[in-house]
């Protein structure tokens, strides 16, 4: 619209060009838009929060010299073998199928270098990722693709997935292009067909029956490994309480910015609550039950830098998980593939058609030629570097607030820039004592 010729043309805010393009696309195809990535709309986020560094009333720790602990123990409520992670940044569940075997291996390598955990996805455990992951969380999903007791016993933890932030209440969809021979055989499906994943587990519904299911998983693994429950952030306060009652060791809350391999755009953009709004609800639920820090809380959805990590911890999380950011660290949307992105009608920085399997970066694909573009060793190192930066950044902020442990950050170390973020994060608007919705 910078063109002078169009200066008098006024674009509708309601029917803008993107909206009209989507109407035309729907009219052309008759199917909703399916894509990957997470919510793209602007949401209240951690950028709207700031730390109150130490000054006169508090004393900072000396950067790099005075220790600031980052390790966290996960799952010591019932499990005989809880997990210790060296940095509170874990890798979220992403399936082999959605991602190439090389990408899964790279995630395992990167996480292992820095001593954190990675997670399988909807499609089972591959030998590559088990081999390269020192701490591997095995997801237990409604589809049970590739689920088997041998892998269950090989896992360091089990994550029962009830939902994810991109699509709470929805199932999955892996389009035929990505169902190669290997993916098909791991999932017991014919090659090349669209694979639909159920939204509910097949053999239990609700927390009372989940409690029995968790007992079963504990029995099968002889009570060795922690059991996580992963939920998409919606009615988080109630859901977290029920997860505790159902017997979780660890609760994973995935905010609506969390990514997906393939989901309806309408789902990604219109269901769930932002990550920042979910944490205080989850923490309140845990505190009321006397379970904060006893049942650990992992938070995910749109975490990008050490500041986001530190802010999650300050709001009460025990650790965070990253998905999209980890893929970007591996090379997803890298401008070096600009020409290839353009060739498939996208652009570096905008690519979200993970469902198509044509990812030029070789990450969200099963194409053998494209997959080769990702060197799992080099990409693993990139991820490790990125995880180190996240850790160092979070430590820097924690030390500035006078903390010798990341988990000593508190909501009182934060202020909000906007009324919305103050209300959602339940911290005061900067320079005031006002937390919207709370008496003071």
């Amino acid at each position: 619209m910078s063109n002078d010729k169009n200066i008098n043309l006024k674009e509708s805010a309601t029917f803008d060009r993107a909206t009209m393009a989507e109407i035309r696309r729907a009219a052309d195809t008759g199917i909703y838009d399916i894509r990957g990535f997470g919510a793209k709309r602007k949401l209240p986020h951690f950028d709207d929060l700031l730390f109150l560094g130490a000054s006169m009333s508090r004393y900072p720790l000396e950067g790099y010299r005075e220790t600031c602990n980052t390790s966290v123990v996960l799952g010591d409520r019932f499990a005989k073998k809880p997990i210790t992670i060296e940095t509170p940044v874990t890798i979220a569940g992403m399936s082999f199928g959605a991602l190439s075997a090389n990408a899964k291996e790279a995630l395992g390598r990167g996480a292992s270098i820095v001593g954190t955990s990675t997670t399988t996805g909807d499609g089972g455990m591959t030998p590559e990722e088990r081999g390269q992951s020192s701490k591997l969380v095995y997801q237990y999903l409604p589809s049970r693709y590739g689920m088997n007791p041998d892998d269950l016993r090989k896992a360091d933890a089990i994550e029962v997935v009830l939902g994810q932030g991109a699509k709470p209440g929805g199932g999955g969809m892996l389009l035929g292009q990505k169902i190669t021979d290997r993916v098909a055989s791991m999932r017991n499906l014919p090659k090349g067909i669209d694979q639909r994943s159920a939204c509910r587990h097949p053999d239990w519904t609700g927390p009372d029956d989940l409690a029995i299911k968790i007992q079963e998983l504990r029995e099968i693994t002889d009570w060795q490994v922690p059991i996580y429950i992963k939920i998409g952030a919606t009615r988080t306060y109630y859901d977290v309480k029920l997860a505790v009652k159902a017997g979780a060791d660890v609760i994973v809350v995935d905010g609506m910015q969390g990514g997906t391999a393939a989901t309806q755009d309408v789902f990604i953009e219109h269901v769930g609550i932002p990550t920042m709004a979910a944490i205080p609800q989850a923490v309140q639920a845990l505190q009321e039950m006397g379970m904060h820090r006893k049942v650990q809380l992992i938070v995910s959805g749109g975490i990008r830098n050490g500041a986001d990590v530190a802010k999650c911890m300050a709001l009460g999380a025990d650790a965070v998980a990253i998905g999209t950011a980890a893929l970007v660290a591996l090379g997803c949307n890298d401008p070096k593939w600009e020409k290839d992105y353009e060739a498939i009608g996208s652009a570096a920085g905008f690519y979200d058609d993970y469902q198509d399997g044509k990812d030029p970066s070789g990450i969200s694909t099963q194409d053998p030629e494209l997959s080769k573009r990702l060197d799992p060793v080099a990409a693993g190192h990139r991820l490790a570097n990125y995880l180190r930066v996240l850790t160092l950044e979070a430590q820097t902020l924690a030390r500035a607030c006078g903390k010798n442990d990341l988990r000593n950050l508190e909501p009182e170390d934060l202020v909000a820039l906007t009324v919305e973020s103050a209300a959602m994060a339940r911290v005061p608007l900067a320079g005031t004592t006002w937390i919207p919705g709370q008496k003071y």
Binding site: D209, A211, L242
Partner: protein
């Protein structure tokens, strides 16, 4: 999200042992509902012209004799009372509505848990074992009894929010599952004059049935209509003065087991709650079908 148990006697053989048979059934459902527990027991029916209220005061030292006397003089009728821990049963030789109005005006702190000619509801926050011993349930007699252990989903863990819910005379309902259209339905029912005490979804189901019965539906018709109007997941067990019903939603994810012998019908969320019943080894044991209701009524 919860556990349900129910025991309906088809004859008088186990009438004196109702509470004793019921006690282990409710305890067996502890894991499904650790937040609160409750039950509705039917029996000890009052005669024509009488109404029975189960009432509770949080202060256990509350003077029920005095309350009965005041009620008696205000309503100008006979009032008898017995108490069990913090709950009392008032038998009033008068009109139910007048009695209710009088109670809520004079004793707003007294909560009416149930009203009818036969029903008595008792419920409490905490584990089943606690409520069973508090109210000495194992000595109770009666014709049928319906119990519930609650794992609270969205509404508060309180005594009021515990099941069973009763929103009509001699009617009670317990629920396992989660309704998805209860908020708007509650508003509609309020306009129809149904009074609710909580934000609980299950109370809406109870209120809905009470409303249908008031409209002249038989229990069967009320349940048929319920299948159309209630959305979400549910297994219900329902008690009326002479009847006992079990119903599941069309998807039927929430569990239910029925057992029947010559002498009784028993219902539970899980079979393990039925194992202590006499003759269970030879009972007909089956799982109720989806979108189907099962009714037993004493004619």
């Amino acid at each position: 999200m919860c556990g349900i148990v129910g025991l309906y006697l088809k004859n008088d053989k186990y009438k004196d042992r109702l509470g004793e048979l019921f006690t282990p059934m409710l305890i067996a459902m502890t894991d499904r509902g650790p937040d609160s527990a409750g039950f509705a027991v039917y029996g000890d029916e009052v005669g024509e012209g009488w109404v029975k209220l189960t009432v509770r005061h949080l202060d256990e030292s509350c003077d029920w004799a005095e309350i009965s006397d005041v009620l008696s003089s205000k309503l100008n009728c006979k009032v008898e009372w017995t108490n069990n821990a913090d709950v009392a049963v008032l038998k009033i030789n008068g009109d139910e509505k007048a009695a209710r109005d009088c109670m809520s005006e004079l004793y707003p702190d007294v909560l009416i848990l149930s009203a009818g000619s036969s029903i008595e509801i008792l419920k409490e926050v905490g584990l089943p074992e606690k409520i069973l011993s508090k109210y000495n349930v194992s000595n109770m007699k009666g014709t049928h009894i319906i119990g519930h252990t609650r794992m609270a989903t969205e509404s508060a863990v309180t005594m009021e929010g515990s099941h069973p819910f009763s929103t009509g005379s001699d009617l009670c309902l317990v629920h396992n599952g989660s309704l998805s259209n209860h908020n708007r339905l509650r508003e509609n029912l309020k306009r129809e004059g149904i009074v609710f005490q909580t934000e609980n979804d299950s109370e809406v189901a109870a209120g809905y049935l009470a409303w249908r019965l008031e409209q002249g539906d038989t229990l069967k018709e009320a349940l048929e209509n319920g299948l159309k109007d209630l959305d979400g997941f549910f297994t219900f067990t329902i008690g009326t003065k002479d009847g006992f019903a079990v119903m599941r939603d069309p998807i039927a994810c929430k569990p239910a087991v029925l057992a029947e012998t010559e002498d009784y019908v028993a219902m539970a969320s899980e079979y393990q709650a039925l194992t202590t019943l006499p003759g269970i080894e030879n009972a007909k044991v089956w799982e109720p079908d989806a979108a189907t209701f099962y009714i037993w009524e004493r004619k």
